[in-house]
Amino acid sequence: MSLVVEGLSKNYSKNLVALNTISFSAKKGECIGIVGESGSGKSTLGKVLVGLENYKEGTITYNGAPVVPTKRSRLREYRKNVQMIFQDSSSSLNPKLPVWESVLEPLDNFKECSPAFLEGQNLSRKETAEQLLIMVGLDKELAGRYPEELSGGQKQRVSIARALSIEPSLLICDEPTASLDVTVQVQILNLLKDFQKKMDMTILFISHDIRAVTFLCEQIIVLKNGTIQDQFGINELYHKSRHPYTKALIEAASIQ
């Protein structure tokens, strides 16, 4: 898989430029961290990449084919390979559905997908959902519960199980740990890291927590006012030519 973004721009209104000529590329198995202060366009970038927002200028190319958000049939092919995890896990699960039905939604939408963990097994729908929950370290008893009966960390794990169910080759995480306790944060990050290695996924990790980003990613992109200010590998984190915003982030996070 390869994702190439070139000259991507997005305006919400005449005066508000959310993204301004963004260009970057991601290879298979790469983890790219996207950091930036609030209002810098991080989340917009995530939404555009997953096809939730339209864009006017620039191109997004996935495996050599352009991604056009207005052509539904083409988008479907792309969306089969791309999943997203949001910050607010309570609003990303349907409160009226028991957890196991939410988890199965991607598999129901893309019936042609046959993920590796299901191969050779003849499981009922509920058993499949239970398998997915076990995969992310949850008890299978939770399958019949409703989202409101779960803790924040558990809900986030359910979101991860749902996103991973069709084995996407690209996973976009928009601040997946921001509203969680420190101990739970580490568990979730470890979970993502394990799956990234196991499935050789590409992850775009949007966050403002530089510690989490450096834990997971090898490449970091710094956004400000919708433009890429800085792009570097993790081993160049302390280089003196880093953008002031990057330096400020490190300064704020360090404990020395």
């Binding site: 202060e37 609030s38 209002g39 306790d181 420190v182 101990t183 944060q185 580490v186 990050l189 403002h208 530089i210 510690r211 989490a212 450096t214 834990f215 993790i234 081993n235 984190l237 302390y238 915003y245 400020a248 982030l249 490190i250 300064e251 704020a252 996070a253 360090s254 404990i255």
Partner: protein
């Protein structure tokens, strides 16, 4: 310097129908000009402790033990007398910024009204003070002053509410997860200003947080709370490198290291 601004002795909070205690045997004290950090996971009773000091516990809970603020026992006071301490003496900064302002009154008016309730000064002077504190928070003070809360971003409203609390120059400031809603840059700005205020007025600060890096860097003393009890206390370096309690160990291990920071972990392993 030696007399504590506030000392909490054997605080216990339980529900009125008398089930198990939510907070048990909590004792801590904060001296003038000191920043104490209270860390722990959600549900460990950090915020309840703060609310007991403020006298803002939910009606179905009661507290026992002593909360001594500058020689007067707050827990023995009637709610009416307790309230007199709030604002000018004890200020609190909440995590949820949306509830800090009334939505249909302009922010400037709310801040000047707050200042004039506690200090006998004229409208003009109060306005100048309000503009000054707003400016110090890194806000465009004139604009924020004439805005309604919904016209500003979350971070801006939070900073305005912090400005309002600090404008009264309280002797004790309780910060309940105040930077959680802010992004890193604005959070630093606000913390730097808080530091400045502390140097200027010598106020004591109780910093409730689950951000370990912040607690290590900004506090003078850390209390670790688990399931309603303080399991360990000490200087930030002690908590970070020489902790004894298994829970503290678990919590500290959760701080992910930046590249090149690994030597701290090695040091920690040597200590164990």
């Amino acid at each position: 310097m030696s007399n504590p601004i506030i000392s909490i002795e054997k605080l216990k909070i339980e529900t009125r129908n008398g089930s198990y205690p939510l907070v048990n045997n909590v004792s801590l004290e904060i001296k003038k000009g000191e920043i104490a950090g209270l860390i722990g996971e959600s549900g460990s009773g950090k915020s309840l402790t703060a609310r007991a000091v403020m006298g803002l516990l939910p009606v179905n809970m009661k507290n026992s033990g002593r909360i001594v603020y500058k020689n007067s026992d707050l827990s023995a006071l009637s709610p009416k007398d307790h309230r007199k301490f709030l604002g000018k003496e004890i200020g609190i900064i909440f995590q949820d910024y949306r509830a800090s302002f009334t939505p249909y009154i302009k922010i400037g008016k709310q801040i000047t009204e707050t200042i004039r309730t506690h200090y006998p000064i004229g409208k003009k002077e109060a306005r100048n003070q309000a503009l000054e504190v707003l400016g110090k928070m890194g806000l465009d003070s004139e604009r924020v002053y004439c805005s309604y809360p919904f016209q500003l971003s979350g971070g801006q409203v939070q900073r305005a509410s912090i400005a309002m609390v600090l404008a009264l120059k309280p002797a004790l400031v309780i910060c309940d997860e105040m930077t959680t809603a802010l992004d890193v840059m604005n959070g630093e700005k606000v913390l730097n200003y808080l530091e400045e205020v502390r140097k200027e007025t010598g106020c004591a600060i109780l910093m409730i947080t689950h951000d370990l890096a912040l607690a290590y860097k900004r506090t003078d003393r850390i209390y670790v709370m688990q399931q309603g009890e303080i399991v360990e206390e000490g200087l930030p370096e002690q908590i970070r490198c020489q902790h004894q309690h298994p829970y503290t160990k678990k919590l500290c291990a959760c701080l992910l290291s930046l590249p090149g920071e690994n030597f701290i972990i090695n040091e920690r392993v040597n200590d164990l």
